[in-house]
């Protein structure tokens, strides 16, 4: 790990330098609706700074909402062309992640890169460098401190920046991060370890993860699930906004002549998710679907991959039309 400093005014120079070097920079951008989204930018001037959290996560960079797996084209001579985009992924820098988002990428890594790594995810992830900025403020939907993280966590980041009085404290965590710094090394000076505490937000801690991991073992039978899910009407907003939700569908779109196979996001909250072609649906009620979602995040992920798949970003709470609250639900079913 390297420790560096960069002045606040040099940040724009650094990012514009990355753009000049031909990298794609994906950063938070304020849109007309007042919401902030991760989008490719052409200059640092487009980057939004005064917001708590983006509407959707940045997982689109490595796990796009619609991903062309391959295209096919029948030619006049009877031959068939099948093409994919795996060797055309550009060098990408994601700028302005929050530590919870970076922890989300850490989970995505664990999920997609198991014994049979997902080639599409890997191709994108290998070309992506994650630059995170610590949180100096939070709102009542943030709960990273309840899920083994905090506003200055370096987990999952290649570089973590913390804003401190006219400068940024730069923690370079990986080889990828190092390469990025080296590209513009004159802007950075070395430093000793500094304390980030005074500059970090203080979100409310609602529970201790160790306690929940224990109590959730018996939560399946809780009668509280019904009340916890009454407001839910089965859309996919929470799953699509979530940085760690990885469920997908594969669809073939095309004609005899040409077409493509795409992978697109799917959500376990949608009623069709588990519907069999016989018409039987093992998770027929919203109660069962909500229970599945929360149990997956707090119990099954721990059993399968050793890590909780909720990062406490609070997006699901913010986007839910009924304001369903994941940490309140977890507390009530583990009472």
């Amino acid at each position: 790990m390297e420790l560096k400093l960069i002045s606040t005014s040099d940040i724009a120079v650094f990012v514009d330098g990355l753009l000049k070097a031909g990298k794609v920079v994906v950063a938070p951008v304020l849109k007309q609706s007042g919401k902030v989204f991760f989008k490719p930018v052409q200059s640092f001037a487009e980057v939004a700074t005064d917001y708590i959290q983006t509407a959707f996560s940045a997982k689109e960079v490595v796990f796009p909402k619609v991903e062309e797996l391959f295209t096919y084209q029948h030619n006049e001579d009877g031959s068939l062309d099948i093409k994919d985009q795996l060797d055309r992924i550009p060098e990408t820098v994601v700028w302005g992640l929050r530590p919870c988002d970076a922890a989300g990428f850490d989970y995505l890594n664990k999920f997609f890169l198991q014994e049979n790594p997902d080639a599409y995810f890997k191709a994108r992830y290998d070309k992506t460098t994650l630059v995170t900025i610590s949180c100096s403020k939070c709102d009542e939907s943030c709960f990273c401190t309840s899920v083994d993280s905090h506003p200055g966590d370096t987990k999952g980041s290649d570089i973590l920046l913390t804003a401190m009085d006219g400068k940024y404290y730069v923690e370079v965590m990986t080889e990828k991060g190092s390469l990025l710094i080296t590209s513009n090394s004159t802007l950075f000076t070395s430093t000793d370890t500094l304390s980030k505490d005074a500059f970090l937000a203080k979100p409310v801690t609602h529970f201790a993860m160790e306690e929940i991991k224990d109590k959730i073992q018996n939560a399946y039978a809780s009668v509280e699930w019904k009340q916890a899910s009454m407001g839910c009407f089965s859309c996919g907003a929470c799953a699509f906004a979530c940085p760690t939700c990885t469920c997908f569908d594969i669809q073939d779109e095309g004609t005899q002549d040409h077409g493509k196979r795409v992978r697109c996001w799917d959500a376990c909250g949608l009623s069709l998710f588990t519907k069999h072609s016989s018409g039987h649906n093992p998770r027929n009620t919203q109660t069962e679907r909500r229970r599945q979602r929360l149990m997956h995040k707090f119990k099954y992920s721990v059993e399968n991959l050793g890590v909780v798949s909720c990062v406490g970003c609070g997006r699901c709470i913010r986007v839910c039309p009924s304001h369903l609250n994941i940490f309140e639900n977890i507390l009530s079913v583990t009472k």
């Binding site: 919401k35 959707f56 619609v66 407001g231 859309c235 907003a237 699509f240 906004a241 959500a267």
Partner: protein
């Protein structure tokens, strides 16, 4: 809100209502939908200008329908949507009691469909000024500018179907989007598929949407989808007369016709 809480407790206590759908406050003091079954829980009810959710959407939920006698805390847009649903014969299995607050801040209790109709007609909501402004702005743009606007907006859509889920008028048990033989609407969130989906939805709501604006308000991508149906409703009112969510009799503009309907584009 004491009056509301007392009345709600009374209705639950004397069995007029088995399940009351209203609003309570979460830790951040935001109103969230709540579902109460005992009079003891009535003291968590709140009702103010911030309570924007259209709670009538829950009247389609099986867990709610099973309770049969339902109480609904509603603003006037919600009451209008219940009236539309009654005119479409969707709530025949339920006995509904409505609690609302009128312009003078007084609690109003409506116990029958006729009382509901009278109240809605007396307090009929008009198009919200900010929505009208946006519609006028879009109509003043050139066609290319409008296309660019909607293309930009619809490219953000992730097909979460929150707009469909929150709409009280979208109650089909099998939605067109769920038909996969053939795959009528693409499931993936590509812009052309998003365009198809929103066009299809706006057409299915034409002459039925009661302009509560929830679909646009809750869209996680911030797309003002409510403007599509709001503008269409205005056009349809001009061309064919009639208002949605106005009377128990209903009258759907797209399954009737007048031989004298006039247009200027058919050759």
């Amino acid at each position: 809100m004491k009056e509301l809480q007392i009345k709600a407790a009374e209705l639950l206590e004397n069995g007029t209502v088995n399940l009351l759908i209203g609003f309570s406050e979460d830790l951040g003091k935001r109103p969230v939908p709540c579902f109460i079954e005992t009079s003891a829980e009535a003291n968590m009810l709140v009702f103010n200008q911030e309570c924007k959710n259209n709670l009538s959407v829950y009247l389609h939920k099986k867990e709610v329908k099973d309770a049969v006698k339902i109480g609904l805390v509603a603003n006037v847009a919600t009451l209008r949507s219940v009236l539309q649903l009654l005119s479409e014969n969707q709530l025949w299995s339920l006995t509904l009691t409505y609690l609302t607050v009128n312009g003078a801040g007084e609690l109003v209790v409506l116990s029958s469909a006729e009382e509901l109709e009278a109240y809605v007609q007396a307090n009929f909501p008009t198009c919200r000024p900010e929505d009208q402004e946006m519609i006028d702005k879009l109509n003043a743009m050139s066609r290319e500018e409008r296309w660019a606007f909607w293309k930009d907006q619809l490219s953000e859509c992730v097909k979460c179907y929150a707009c469909r889920a929150v709409c009280p008028m979208c109650y089909c048990t099998v939605c067109t989007t769920e038909c996969n033989q053939p795959q009528w609407i693409k499931t993936s969130a590509q812009t052309s598929g998003n365009f198809e989906y929103h066009t299809m939805r706006a057409m299915h709501l034409a002459g039925r949407c009661i302009n509560c604006g929830e679909c646009g308000r809750i869209c996680p991508a911030g797309i003002p989808v409510h403007l599509l149906t709001a503008q269409m409703n205005q056009e349809m009112e001009k061309e064919f007369g009639g208002k949605t969510g106005w009377s128990l009799k209903g009258g759907y503009a797209l399954n009737t016709f007048k031989p004298g309907d006039k247009e200027n584009f058919i050759k």
